[in-house]
Point group: C2
Chain length 550, copies 2
């Protein structure tokens, strides 16, 4: 008698939130491919793949939930020669909604598992929508006893053990696990420790694709009962993988090596831009090219995501723009083969200066005049975006977003902010990484002191701590929730800490109106870090009731 | 022997999220007032009053939680002659966080209750932060047995009963219950049915004040054991009320009558503007005055909130602005005693037209040119806001926000959007209501067909269904999550429904970058209705994969 054997496909596929009909087609096509090309007997899809993840408040719509539940019947009726494990929002008879995984085979439901651990932290709001399940689920297929789990389940103690005690010899985990730097290492370490204790092999299938702020990075894998990775799919790519299970042991396959930190950030950003443009139906992207490092990086990312023919750059010099900034911007556009326009902003700035002369009579120049310049650029870029149906990309980085070193409706104007969650020092690393692939950013751009060029001889460090220090302080304050005194105790100067924290505290109102950007850190602004605007909290205490938003 | 008697103060006070030191002062002052002026023996404060509500992700900061817990010790040590019931985020020894109510008397803790029902729907995210308590809490004070509950607890079955079974003869409920139209009636109806069944009197203390999108309306009340309201404090005002309890029965006091729907909306909006300006430290407010109904209403609201000397208006006519629009705008400013400036936008529009002539050569005029006009106005208003430190108010209503009938960075530019959650038909009702108090909006503004005046002879109904129909469709689609077929079945034309729904679906990206506004309906955009931008869901189905965001 031969040992029981089973071929399982891992469907690491890119789905679209809300478009159930398209997702169902995608599921059926993937199942057919897995059966016919790979000889798979069972195919595992990611968490909530029928609706996409996160569908947010679409999950409150009765029509949407009905369509998602009908889709399961449709799939069951239209796939007959392979078993499928599909994630969907299950509407129970009592009206409750579960985050479920259903097993379909030959038109019959073999099992349906309800996710037990519902994450409600960070970017997750699952308790807003779902009721938690409370029992393990094991089904028999071709002689194997297979347990089901969904994402957060395998990060908690006890749920894997319960599946094993219920008879599982092999575990499937359906995931919509969003990327941040180092996340895949964290995932594999968690699975290693959980699986090693429970001594049960595990197949981990993750989504891939960009969805607003989130990137799903794929990197689906298979761990043996010692927790060792014996198969790993690519990061940031669609892939239908296959693993053969013989006698409940996964046969070792190809383990695609992981990117290092900089490379993984770069690929995440490229995928994020590509999917935002594609899934939202834009004809391409445009951006303002200043000659600075941020716009140089965003241009390279956009070209790598969309191709040079889909990207357009606009140079908008003012009286404060140095000659070398324009030269470098032209070099960047040329190096990437991108069409560019040059539109000096002086006529519009002069018009506003004249129009405001009477109401501003007797006042001193301040950031108001700087903001007018930035907003004139915003109008030009938005006009070109509107006229051509191209997405306007903003170029602000996380350091700037943190301290509010940006102009609302000016350089913050745009539909998508690719490097919004990339600290300035990482911007430099990413630029150097890109230049190693092929030189597209002039060396001078990497070495000049950064400047907004909104006033004569202005450089960022006139008003901000040096970026090496600023980024380190921001990581502690914004991402790690450390207090000012903890940060000072770690060796940073009280002046730098006070300056950075005060700016972060006072600029929530700007961030609230910023375009969505790609989350790559463990705490991004947006879904992830949710602060009040009206807020008396100050990380560095000022006298009571002294609360001014600039 | 006389019957046991107890005087309880209801502290319906306005607190500031995040400013623990100021809130503590406020608590101590209120306690002192209640004791000395009212003769109270016990004072009840609202839910989480030490930190303000909602403190959002401040609750993840260890320094903030430590300060809040230290504040309880400080209050206990500094108030000796009255017992206090105070809501705060209790850090338990095991590191868990509870939404708790603590009873302090003479420096001693008499009881500490942990909220059992944690709302995680609508605008609430309490399971993001808190662990749920699991038992009732009853304490004895001056011979009375008093049970504690917090907000959502009394909306659910069983928690009041459990407190009664644990010995409570009187219930206190600490609340941070946000306003929407009709909410106070809903609250009193819920308490009526719950209390009538349990036969226990209840003292309901609510916050008052504006906090970003939320308004807390106060209207604290006391119900007897039949559920009848025997005392009610004002809506939208700070008030330290007093109720005497004799033999566990509340002595009937003054029941302030409730506002009707329009009046309550008006007062909520005034409070919202006042608190946003005050709590964020602005010197006043400015707005663009177009001669249309929306800006006329926002001007009146701003003046009623801040006083006419704190409000400034700007008229920014273009070639498409009709003479009567300017005349009416001037009449409005004069009627309210507001300083205004007139700045025609033509010079800036001409400058941009010239600057873009080359890149736009050969293209047709479209909304791009309309948006440029709106954005020139945005630049002028933001420049004046920046220069003077006054808050720029936007004037867009909910109907416009729903269908995207607004220009990003144009008329949507500003720090606060007072009527963002007010449907157009209610804008008219509010204007008429305000004119009944004193005539400030010319009758012609109330009767002219609404127009954006961005193109010749343009009126809103050229591109939108009539507002009576649009508002009714939007209420069903946005607030009630009805499907297109349900709405059509209710008697609306398929064309109007398709037009309205398509616009709602496609304009999430605009709403995501809009300023915060005041929530007055049961589902506002923002914290309340959370939709993906990248989204294949269409309330009215288009062919598959045909997904364009304009």
């Amino acid at each position: 008698m031969s040992l029981p054997s089973l071929k399982i496909a891992l469907a690491q596929i890119n789905f679209l939130v809300g478009n159930i009909a398209a997702n169902v087609d995608n599921i059926i096509n993937a199942a057919s491919h897995a059966r016919e090309e790979l000889g798979a007997e069972l195919i595992v899809f990611p968490e909530l793949i029928v609706t996409g993840y996160p569908a947010e408040d679409l999950l409150f719509r009765a029509d949407f939930i009905e369509e998602a539940n009908n889709a399961i019947h449709y799939i069951a009726e239209n796939v007959s020669d392979i078993a499928l494990v599909v994630g969907f929002p299950e509407l129970a008879e009592d009206g409750r909604l579960y985050n479920s995984a259903i097993v379909l085979h030959q038109g019959v439901t073999l099992a349906c598992y309800r996710k037990q651990a519902l994450p409600n932290y960070g970017v997750f709001d699952e308790r807003r929508y779902f009721t938690a399940g409370n029992q393990p689920c094991v089904f028999e297929f071709n002689g194997s006893f297979i347990g089901l789990t969904i994402c957060e389940d395998v990060w908690q103690k006890g749920i894997i053990d319960a599946a094993k005690q219920a008879g599982a010899e092999l575990l499937l985990t359906l995931n919509a696990s969003p990327f941040n730097l180092g996340k895949i290492h964290q995932r594999e370490a968690v699975i290693y420790s959980q699986v090693k204790t429970a001594k049960i092999p595990l197949i981990y299938v993750n989504q891939i694709g960009g969805q607003d702020e989130l990137i799903f990075d794929g990197a689906s894998f298979v761990a043996n009962d010692q927790g060792e990775i014996v198969y790993r799919a690519e990061e940031f790519k669609e892939r239908i993988g296959l693993v053969e299970i013989i006698d409940n042991k996964p046969v070792p396959g190809r383990c695609v090596p992981l990117y290092d930190k900089t490379a993984s950030a770069y690929h995440a950003l490229v995928l994020g831009i590509k999917d935002y443009v594609r899934k939202n139906g834009f004809g391409g992207a445009i951006l303002g090219l200043s000659g600075g490092i941020d716009s140089a990086l965003v241009l390279a990312l956009a070209v790598d995501a969309l191709g040079s023919d889909k990207v357009e750059a606009v140079l908008m010099p003012s009286r404060y723009t140095q000659g070398m900034s324009n030269e470098d911007a032209v070099l960047e556009a040329d190096a990437l083969g991108v069409k560019y326009h040059t539109i000096p902003i002086e006529p519009a700035v002069n018009a506003f200066t004249g129009m405001l002369a009477e109401v501003f009579a007797g006042t001193k120049k301040d950031t108001t005049e700087e903001n007018i310049q930035a907003r004139c650029r915003g109008i030009i870029l938005m006009a070109m975006s509107n006229k051509q149906g191209k997405l306007l990309l903003t170029t602000g980085n996380k350091s700037e977003m943190s301290v509010g070193y940006a102009t609302l409706y000016g350089d913050m104007a745009g539909g998508f902010a690719p490097v919004k969650d990339v600290p300035k020092m990482l911007v430099y690393q990413l630029a150097r990484y890109r230049n190693e692939l092929s030189p597209v950013i002039p060396e001078r751009v990497l070495t000049r002191p950064p400047s907004a060029e909104l006033a004569p001889d202005q450089v960022d460090e006139d008003s901000l701590p040096p970026y090496e220090l600023l980024d380190a302080i921001l990581e502690r304050y914004v991402e790690k929730d450390q207090s000012a005194s903890e940060i000072i105790a770690a060796g940073f100067s009280p002046e730098h800490v006070a300056r950075a924290i005060n700016l972060v505290d006072r600029n929530e109102y700007k961030r609230r109106q910023s375009p969505p950007g790609i989350r790559i850190t463990s705490k991004a602004f947006g879904r992830d870090r949710r602060y009040p605007i009206t807020c008396g909290y100050r990380g560095v205490k000022a006298p009571k009731n002294c609360m001014i938003i600039e």
